[in-house]
Every structure is written in C-alpha cells, then in structure tokens.
Symmetry: C2
Subunit: 181 residues, 2 copies
C-alpha cells in the first residue's frame, strides 16, 4: 500500500501499474493478488487509509467559537487536500466509485467526516449565529466550496499555494458573512 501510494504520486493515477509496485517491494506481480482481489481492491485500501487520516485531520480542529469552528474546518479541509494530493484525488476525484465497498468500520470513517461538518453547523445554529436553514444544505455548500478550491488547486498548476490561501479565506469569509444572522 505504501509503494502503491508512492507510485501513484510519482507516475500519476493513469500511469500507475501493478508490476512496478511488485518490483519496489521485491515480489512478483502476482503476489499482490494473494492480498488484494484486484487492482481496484488495492486502490480501495489506499483510499481507506486516506479517509482515516482525513478523519483525524478534521477531528484535530477544536475551535470553540461556532462560526470560527466552521471556518477552521474549511481551512483544515483545504490543507489536508493540498498536503495529501494522492489520497484526496483517489477519495473524491478519481475513484469515488470505490467508496461503497469496505468494512463497516471504514464506512463509518467516511460518513463521520461529513457529520463533523454538519454537527459544527448545527452547533452554530443552536448558538444563534446563523440564519435558520437546513444544516445539511449549508454543509453541502461548504463542502462544495472547499472541494472546488482543492480540486482546482490539485489539477491546475496556476493555483499555487498563495492563490489557494487567498481564495480559501475570501470564500469562507463570504459564506460566513452571507449566512450570519
């Protein structure tokens, strides 16, 4: 799985092949099939690892102020995407079709990340910081917003780090300003 992640990073998802993985770990290509059903299963395992890290990255956000917490979750989301491009692309851009397989544990890890966001929005609602609205709707908007930034940054070189930072801050500022009561 480590070698797979490395090789996807080095050669891109399209250029990723099993034989180089085997070569790097010093085994023959067919040995991979003793541990994973097929290429997709190996990628799915890498994705699961990514969701574990993603969940921990979001759980690390502990801003008390309700509105500030939403913004900090957005910042943590963008940071994770930029610092874990391989994981992020596999999880949300390249192979989200592999999201429906996996153990219950992994399923929960995945839904858990979105719930963190919805909870934060609900908390802000309860605190009277937001105009009343469906927290899930607003969470989807936030998700799409930060995903858009990461997705563009990961694919388009002209979205460099400072551009991403400026876009993120302006985006979160406008959204929070737009929903503030």
């Amino acid at each position: 799985m480590n070698a797979a992640g490395e090789l996807i990073l080095e050669r891109g998802y399209d250029g990723f092949a099993l034989r180089p993985v085997a070569e790097r770990i010093g085994y023959s290509a067919t040995t991979i099939y003793l541990h994973f059903a097929d290429k997709d299963a190996l990628i799915a395992a890498v994705i699961d690892e990514g969701f574990g890290r993603f969940l921990r990255a979001l759980q690390a956000v502990d801003t008390p102020d309700p509105l500030g917490r939403i913004a900090d979750l957005g910042r943590a989301y963008v940071r994770f995407g930029l610092e874990n491009r391989v994981y992020y692309q596999l999880m949300f851009m390249q192979r989200p079709d592999l999201l429906n397989v996996g153990s219950r544990e992994h399923q929960r890890e995945r839904t858990g990340t979105f719930e963190i966001l919805v909870d934060a929005v609900q908390r802000a609602l309860d605190a009277g910081a937001l105009r009343p609205d469906d927290p899930v709707d607003y969470s989807r908007v936030l998700w799409a917003a930060v995903h858009g930034i990461v997705a563009l940054a990961v694919k388009l070189p002209r979205f460099d780090d400072t551009t991403v930072a400026r876009t993120t801050e302006l985006m979160l500022d406008l959204l929070n300003r737009g929903i503030e009561r």
Copy 2:
C-alpha cells in the same frame, strides 16, 4: 472525435480505447495516427470542442442586472457541467494537463471563458453593487464554488439533480449576500 466522445461517455475515461473508436468509424486503429499524433492528441481535440461549447454557453447569458448576471453565469456553468459531463470532466477534472497545447484560437477560447466572469464581476463593481475587492479574486471564488458543485455532482451519485439545484441556489445566494455592499 464524435466516436471518441461517445465511447468515453459509454465506457468512462479509464475504459476508453482507440481500437473501438476505429471500429466504430469503420477504419483500422492505425488510421487514427494519420490524423492525431497519439491518444492524447485525440483527447485534446475533444477538449477543444468542449471549450467551444462552454464558451458559447456562457456567452448566451445576457442578464442585464449586474448581481443577477453573476448568479446566472454560475447557473449556466453548473448546467453546462451537468449536461456535458464528458466534456466537463476532460476539461477540468481528468486531463487539464492537455490544456496548454493547441492553436492560438483554442487558447483564446479557454481564457475567454474566465474573462467573461471577471468582466461580469467588474461590471457589478462599477455599478457599486459589490464591496470593493479584486475582481479576479472574487471570480476565482465563484469559479471554485461552482466547480466544486459540478465536480461532486459528476462523481458522486448521491448528488442528484435536485440536490445540485438546491446547493447551487444556496451557494450563489450566500456568496452574493456576502459580497453585497
């Protein structure tokens, strides 16, 4: 190019191969290499066609009200992405690395789409509808916002049409409300 677009739609980008393209148009596979340098060149040609359609879709927006025009551009963007999933994914998600090649004409078609958005924001600024800010920064935020929606909708089946519509409306409402002076 038509057959290529069809086959990418039918079998997905990963399952897209040249021999079926040749078979569909009644030629041998090698004939494709008489007209395109390689597989990427064929895909690049499809992408150029997509940008032409994309530009025309945005040019068709003629809302006079400055703030309304920005929102309608966002709606047109999302609509184009959903109605042209193959083009959209190739252009912005799968192979944006093929964006730097092509004729001057095609280059201009691509930059032109973003300029339409920047112009609309500048117009709203001039009309005094926005808080003063860099129009390019705000345009990037808008772009990332609608791209995020389309990117999630195209990849995740749970983002159905009504969810997309609600998310789009809430997103545009919050962003415009956030920047309104």
